[in-house]
């Protein structure tokens, strides 16, 4: 298959980037999008040019590294899939494909298609954990967890922190990510003790990082590779209300 690529090239966050045209031929239809970029980079290296920098790790849809905005969509045209799960057979022979990085003030550019997502790590550090005392582990059945809550918590915990929600959101809001991380613990008894501090801390850090404000558009939910639901954002709003109004 043959493709005409328009790839965002940017040396660093200090200089402006631009779309650069590449033509690539003899692409196997069953290659993943990342493998197609690998082939392109191989060509570029042989020609003595600078290869395209892009993030990738597991290549099986669970690490959340492969951040690419393909043809105007986070992770490309598929629903509930990452870039590594996007295969070239999805496109037609001779298609023009735009490839851009995630764009948000809170995700500063590193190089080409890679952006710095450590804002997410700093949000997690403000409360996305439970404190556990050292010593002998207690019996697992000591704390009863209702089945429905366990399921909802697990659904929220499926978030891989890829940042597609921020990338797809017209407001660059991170609320789907933060709400998933708050929800997975708020739904379980183990998350109870630090519940108030978690909601206040993580939301405070989210605002400090310069993410936008949610206006309930729903693009995040539509583009999330792990199908995290907007109900999590409503839960986060409740957690925040409780933390600011009800709790001492």
């Amino acid at each position: 298959m043959k493709f005409y690529l328009k790839v965002w090239r940017q040396k660093s966050d200090k200089v402006a980037g631009k779309l650069v045209d590449y033509t690539i031929d003899n692409i196997n239809a069953d290659m993943s999008f990342l493998e197609m970029i690998d082939v392109l980079n191989d060509d570029l290296i042989r020609k003595g040019e600078d290869p395209i920098a892009f993030d990738h790790d597991c290549r099986e849809g669970i690490c959340g590294m492969c951040s690419m905005y393909i043809n105007g969509r986070a992770h490309g045209p598929h629903h509930a899939a990452t870039t590594c799960q996007l295969y070239m057979r999805t496109f037609r022979d001779g298609d023009t494909i735009y490839v851009e990085p995630w764009r948000a003030k809170a995700f500063p550019a590193i190089k080409d298609l890679t952006v710095d997502r450590s804002a997410f790590d700093r949000i997690i550090a403000r409360g996305g954990f439970v404190s556990v005392n050292t010593g002998q582990a207690q019996d697992a059945n000591n704390i009863a967890v209702e089945k429905a809550s366990a399921e909802k918590a697990m659904d929220a915990a499926a978030c891989i922190g890829c940042g597609a929600c921020v990338a797809a959101c017209p407001n660059s809001a991170a609320m789907l990510f933060v709400s998933a991380k708050i929800s997975q613990l708020a739904l379980l008894p183990q998350g109870g003790p630090e519940r108030t501090l978690r909601a206040l801390g993580m939301i405070d850090q989210m605002d400090k990082e310069g993410f936008g404000n949610c206006t309930n558009i729903g693009a995040c939910e539509a583009e999330c590779p792990k199908e995290i639901k907007l109900t999590n954002i409503a839960r986060m709003n409740r957690e925040f209300l409780k933390a600011t109004i009800v709790e001492e």
Binding site: N213, N216, A234, F240
Partner: protein, 227 residues
């Protein structure tokens, strides 16, 4: 992060939008109900009676101040959020296929709201300024000798251009409500599988019915359906 976060955080700003939005929605119900009295077709007698009550009652006049405050908060908070949200993405996408993951009106609340605000300036100049400031004595009295706000409506809606602007304003309101109604509930954390469908249906019904009722008023007067 202190308790003051309730007012300063991103979620606090959302709450303010949702609460003031629901408050303005409650006003729309009152406004539409009273103005619908023109369809009694009694030369505006019933309508004038209720309009006079709303204009002279001390409690209602006090609530009017609250209404203006609510509107101003909604507008200022909305424009502030719009500015912050644009700043959150300094470099735009060269190619963004937004239509596949969200509706255009949900992404256009600021522009729809601005259109409604522009309409409101005209609307207040047409009616509020006349009834509250300059007076409507020159419009005479109705069959029962009451102040004749109905005659003001008849005078304003003789102009087809004004009627078209009012109908356009109602379209903006329709799309603004179509997203805003259910969005307010989500913002306030009222999202539950038991009620989501009811909220969605109620929101769509409200967004359609209220603007249609409003749009039919100038149309009815221009076309002479009510006299």
């Amino acid at each position: 992060m202190a308790k003051s976060a309730l007012f300063t955080s991103s979620i606090g700003k959302k709450f303010l939008m949702g609460l003031t939005g629901l408050f303005l929605i409650s006003f729309l119900i009152v406004h539409a109900s009273i103005n619908a009295m023109i369809w009694f077709n009694d030369g505006g007698v019933t309508f004038n009676k209720y309009a006079h009550f709303m204009g002279s009652n001390l409690i209602v006049r006090t609530m009017e101040i609250g209404l203006f405050l609510g509107l101003i908060l909604h507008v200022v908070d909305g424009l502030w959020l719009y500015k912050l949200n644009r700043e959150a993405r300094p470099v735009k996408y060269a190619y963004n296929d937004e239509g596949t993951n969200s509706s255009w009106y949900s992404r256009s609340m600021a522009i729809l709201g601005t259109l409604i605000l522009l309409f409101l300036v005209l609307h207040l100049a047409n009616f509020w300024v006349k009834t509250r400031i300059t007076g409507i004595e020159q419009f005479g009295v109705d069959a029962e000798g009451q102040e004749n706000l109905f005659a003001v409506m008849q005078a304003v809606f003789q102009s087809p251009i004004i009627v078209v602007i009012y109908v356009a304003g109602c379209f903006s309101l329709f799309w603004h409500l179509l997203h805003g109604f259910k969005s307010a509930f989500q913002t306030l954390g009222l999202n539950h599988v038991k009620y989501n469908e009811a909220i969605a249906v109620l929101g769509i019904a409200f967004s359609i019915i209220v603007p249609i009722v409003f749009a039919l008023m100038p149309v009815s007067i221009l076309l002479g359906w009510v006299r």
